[in-house]
């Protein structure tokens, strides 16, 4: 049997946890007021860093790629996480096509998607991707901190993520975010 003291300490753990949690919430509320904590920001901690190591197979008849391929490409690359089952991805498709035609290299990662479904999606909505990898179990997406599809990352010539956007790319995002970032990409 545990001694009386350990028993008392054990019974005090819920209180300790709640007190610490309460202090944490208090601090968070304070930060929210000063604006230094925003739960709705989709900031990605990887911006300014190289993406985590990965190597993914190709899908829908295209060549896959790895983190070393990204670093060795020597040109800015837009990495786009998407899935055939996602409606915003359909809305985003024309914008990706337009970007691809303007000369930006786009590599896609199909998130939790089967090869034939991806192929059908590309046949219906156009294929802006020069390379296309399959992240079937979604593990790479977790490592990248992907919030949901579609999500795009701009990688500079040194292989570092310099810009990130969660959601479907549209005119606003491209002109105010992607294009300025692209200027500093090399």
């Amino acid at each position: 049997m545990a001694s009386v003291l350990t028993r008392r300490l054990l019974l005090a753990t819920p209180l300790t946890i709640v007190v610490l949690g309460g202090l944490g919430f208090y601090a968070l509320l304070g930060r929210m007021q000063t604006g230094s904590y925003d739960p709705h920001a989709f900031a990605n901690p990887l911006v300014g860093k190289a993406p985590p190591a990965f190597s993914l197979p190709g899908t829908a008849g295209q060549q896959g790629f790895s983190s070393t391929d990204l670093a060795a490409a020597g040109k800015p690359i837009l990495v786009n996480f998407f899935a055939s089952w996602c409606i915003p991805c359909v809305q985003e498709a024309p914008m990706l096509d337009q970007l691809s035609k303007s000369g930006l290299v786009i590599w896609g990662i199909a998130y939790q998607d089967k090869s034939d479904a991806t192929a059908k999606f590309l046949a219906d909505n156009g294929n802006p991707f020069q390379r296309l990898a399959s992240d079937l179990d979604g593990r790479t997406a977790i490592n990248w901190g992907v919030y949901g599809v579609p999500e795009s990352f701009l990688i500079n010539t040194k292989g570092v993520i310099i810009w990130h956007y969660a959601g479907a790319l549209n005119d606003d995002v491209v002109t105010s975010g992607l294009l300025p970032a692209l200027k500093h990409a090399s």
Partner: protein, 657 residues
């Protein structure tokens, strides 16, 4: 005038709640009979005043009194009557008043149906309950006043949020809140027991019905919310691991654990400290959920816009309620001692296993939900924890729960051996295995495990009942008469497990869902799931406060027309918001689901889905809640609790075989 009356009633309610708290908590020590009798009367009076206040708000909504900010911002004269009423609680301030209404209703119910309780315990329970009511009423009146007026009043209201203009969501909050708030009674019982320093079998028996009622409502509330998101959000998802969903799931998990550990307290007088802690934790998690949603601390699609002082107020309220009860717990819990002894393999052992896994799942979900804000606070790192984390952690933890669920009810109390129970379950094991192998060969391993597990639990529950009525071992009519005389709690428990198994089947079946996203011109068609989906026409249709574009989609198989679906898009003119209304046709085991996502160049963009077993997800929830209801009608709850001394040895006929 009417809103002022509501405001006044609210202020009056705080005074009554304060009186109830003081008289209830200190009455028993004064040994004054009048004080003991006053607490129930005050609890009923409190419900009356808050009810009057709530009716005033509803009245303002019905007559579209736009001088009341709450009505002006969330309602409109063109809004249909039903949603003018439900709109009053579809926003922050109104929903807090609804919260208080249900809280006081719970207190009034204890006062009315708790006549069998020792009067000192009843007074203490009501006193603590009154204290909680008072805190929340004070919050409503000071920083979240639903009766605030605006001047000059606008000509038209801003209208109800179109997404909320839906029967499923109109009734989702009251049901869910009843679930949340109902646990306040179990909480009050736990704190009262700590004050008295006494938890015994009778306590377990008193707490169980209250826990059961809240659990039924919480189960229905969660199922209703999930069903709503399935048919309105337009892509067939039913659970997103969104923070708001997680904070509703947390009290459900610990509440389910409480439901099971209260059985041990009642039958075997063991696990007392644990049961008390679970009762405190469950209500604390309900409160925490309210706080997290309303303070806007978590990134959620459901977030209310709230001012920071509301956040501080709720946090202080939470600190007093949870902190206070836990301080009491820390000092008083050592007094409670267990008397029942049991072997690891026994009914008690199985129930403890259930408690461990439920609580571990709760901890994982809790950590996953709160990890992002706390990581940001401590290390300045921003990240999000999404569905993949929860799927990969919570689902494997459910597997042992599923395995044990069928076995547990077949084990006797105190000491048992596994083999006889497993022998009784051989049919379930064989069927589950066959299902799993077939699904694995035909589709994939994940669905195979889920469907096999679901079949195991469902059949396990049926075998449990069959064993109790000794089916096929005694003449059939004897079995049937046994079915009608057996304790309803046993039937309810088996139904609860059965319902859970059905939900597991539904969730597993949904992993086999097929879908296609496509743009169709009228006359064109697409193939999915062995059907041909043809767009016939897109046309306009009128609505009460919105304009509608309706698509007619014919579904045929081998040239035979099977059905016509009408997915539509609604344009809410007042708010300039478009919502899509999915068309779903179900045959009970399979959903055909069509969403009209957008229009372009005369054609339409569609999402067609085939969802195998989808209806079972919510059917299972309904069965679980019904099982709880049947259990609640058990004889020992109906005839009321026996006097405390007599409850020392629970009636052996009820204590299972």
């Amino acid at each position: 005038m009417i809103p002022e009356l509501g405001h006044f009633a609210l202020a009056l309610a705080i005074a009554i709640a304060g009186a109830q708290a003081v008289i209830g908590i200190f009455g028993p020590t004064m040994n004054d009979n009048r004080a003991l009798r006053a607490a129930p009367a005050l609890a009923i009076g409190l419900f009356g005043t808050v009810g009057a206040s709530f009716l005033c708000l509803v009245y303002a909504g019905i007559v579209s009194d736009f001088t009341v900010r709450n009505v002006a911002e969330y309602s409109d004269s063109t809004t249909p009557l039903l949603y003018r009423i439900t709109g009053t609680w579809g926003n922050h301030d109104g929903s807090i008043l609804l919260w208080c209404l249900i809280l006081t209703l719970c207190g009034a119910t204890v006062a009315t149906f708790g006549r069998n309780l020792p009067s000192s315990l009843r007074a203490r329970v009501l006193g603590i309950h009154g204290l909680v009511c008072g805190g929340f009423l004070l919050f409503t009146l000071t920083v979240s006043d639903p009766f605030a007026r605006i001047w000059p009043p606008p000509m038209h209201g801003a209208g109800v949020n179109p997404i909320l203009q839906d029967p499923g969501l109109a009734f989702h909050p009251p049901v869910l809140y009843t679930g949340y708030v109902g646990f306040s009674v179990a909480f009050a019982f736990a704190v009262a027991a700590l004050i008295e320093g006494r938890v015994d079998a009778a306590w377990g028996r008193w707490v169980r019905p209250w826990t059961l009622v809240s659990w039924c409502f919480l189960t229905s509330g969660i199922a209703l919310g999930s069903w709503w998101s399935y048919y309105t959000l337009g892509w067939g998802g039913y659970w997103f691991w969104d923070p708001v969903e997680n904070v509703a799931l947390l009290p459900w998990l610990t509440g389910t654990a409480l439901l099971h550990s209260a059985i041990i307290v009642e039958k075997r007088e063991a696990m007392k400290i644990w049961a008390v802690l679970l009762a405190i934790a469950t209500f604390s998690l309900s409160l925490c959920g309210t706080f997290l949603v309303r303070s806007g601390l978590l990134n959620s699609v459901h977030a209310f816009a709230a001012s920071p002082d509301q956040g501080y107020f709720i946090l202080a309220l939470l600190g007093l309620t949870i902190g206070g009860s836990l301080i009491l717990f820390t000092f008083r819990a050592p007094v409670l001692s267990a008397s029942g002894v049991f072997a690891p393999i026994s009914r008690e052992g199985a129930l403890i296993l259930n408690n461990i896994f439920l609580c571990v799942i709760a901890v994982v979900v809790f950590m996953g939900t709160l990890y992002p804000p706390f990581l940001d606070l401590l290390f300045g790192v921003q990240l999000s924890v999404g569905a993949p984390f929860f799927n990969q952690t919570a689902i494997p933890l459910t597997a042992p729960l599923i395995l044990a669920m069928a076995v547990g009810p077949l084990l006797p109390w105190k000491r048992a051996t596994l083999l006889p129970a497993l022998q009784k379950l051989w049919i379930a094991a064989v069927v589950a295995l066959i299902v799993a192998v077939i699904v694995d060969l035909r589709w994939n391993a994940v669905a195979a495990l889920g469907l096999g597990g679901g079949a195991w639990v469902v059949l396990g529950a049926i075998i449990d009942i069959a064993e109790r009525v000794r089916l096929f071992r005694i003449p059939l009519n004897h079995s049937i008469s046994r079915l009608f005389t057996m304790p309803r709690a046993a039937i309810g428990a088996a139904m609860g497990h059965f319902g859970f198994g059905v939900t597991v089947l539904g969730i597993a079946g949904m992993t086999l869902a097929a879908h296609v996203v496509t743009v169709l011109q009228p006359g064109q068609s697409v193939q999915l799931g062995g059907y041909q989906w043809t767009l016939n026409d897109i046309h306009d249709a009128p609505g009460p406060n919105y304009a509608k574009r309706v698509a007619d989609v014919t579904i045929s198989s081998d040239g035979h027309k099977i059905m016509v679906l009408h997915p539509s898009r609604r344009f809410f003119t007042a708010q300039k918001i478009t919502t899509s209304d999915a068309a779903i046709r179900t045959n009970g085991i399979n959903d055909i689901y069509a969403t009209f996502a957008g229009e372009q160049d005369g054609g339409g963009e569609f999402r067609f889905n085939e969802h195998p077993m989808a209806p079972e997800i919510w059917l299972g929830g309904l069965i679980m809640a019904l099982g709880g209801g049947i259990s609640l009608s058990d004889r020992r709850f109906r005839i009321g609790a026996p006097a405390r001394k007599a409850a020392k040895r629970p009636a052996s006929s009820i204590a299972a075989e």
